[in-house]
């Protein structure tokens, strides 16, 4: 157990080297790219909303014209009975 921890500590020390140099424009590039991501998300959301509105509109117009809730007029006359 302790041996194992000792070896892990050794590896930990191997990893603790000085940090690499951070490029000066890293934050600026990340902000720019992040803004592009946000913009794309916004556009996608907007497009989906537009699609939903169009779908509702099309459905409403179709329903108002076709009135699918009304019983369609009978195509055939009932057979004559009781003669």
């Amino acid at each position: 157990m302790t041996r194992h921890e000792q070896r892990e500590d050794e590896v930990r020390r191997m990893l603790e080297t000085p940090y690499p140099q951070v490029p000066g424009d890293l934050a600026a590039r990340a902000v720019e790219r992040g803004n592009r991501l946000l913009h794309r998300d916004r556009m996608t959301r907007r497009a989906l909303w537009a699609l939903l509105v169009v779908a509702v509109l099309v459905f409403t117009v179709w329903a108002a014209r076709e009135r699918p809730w009304e019983v369609p007029p009978a195509g055939t006359t009932p057979p004559l009975e009781g003669l």
């Binding site: 070896r7 140099q21 934050a27």
Partner: protein, 158 residues
């Protein structure tokens, strides 16, 4: 109404906060990314690209962090992003961990360098905990003495 100006100000405020975060955390994060891609301290274009993408993601999520640590969020994204593109990083370019496979590097960096708990590491990588433990143990013995002396070497005194 000043609605436009308010938004603009909010945006600037967020950018400033984000830049302060990057100034504080980028060194450590870039070091972790460089360990993952197994590049060297002086030449690490892949690690830089990886970190830029993860930071951009964190920036985009900044208003939705809800108290979550941006460092943890960036580290989680970095790990997931590296795992997705690991096949591209299979051959190390001379970093400390270049002898290991991408998955072994991920486990070593998260567990030993970042000190993430076994349970969280397993959740981050989508692996069972026992597997994380096994990969970690295997990597540790591979890093120390080129693979010889695994658990079956209790006699050696130190």
């Amino acid at each position: 109404m000043g609605e436009r100006g308010g938004r603009e100000g909010e945006h600037r405020h967020r950018t400033r906060q984000f830049e302060a975060f990057v100034a504080g955390a980028a060194g450590r994060l870039l070091h972790a990314a460089t360990l993952l891609t197994a590049e060297t301290r002086t030449r690490n274009p892949r690690a830089q690209a990886l970190l830029t993408a993860s930071l951009a993601h964190t920036y985009a999520q900044w208003d939705r962090l809800r108290g979550e640590d941006p460092y943890d969020r960036t580290r989680a994204d970095l790990a997931a992003r590296f795992a997705r593109t690991a096949w591209r990083h299979h051959r190390g370019k001379g970093g400390v961990l270049s002898a290991l496979t991408p998955q072994e590097r991920l486990v070593v960096v998260l567990r030993l360098y970042e000190g993430v708990a076994e349970e969280q590491t397993a959740a981050l990588l989508g692996l069972p905990e026992e597997r994380v433990r096994a990969v970690c143990a295997r990597s540790v013995s591979a890093l120390r003495g080129g693979g010889q002396g695994t658990t079956a070497a209790p006699g050696r005194a130190s």
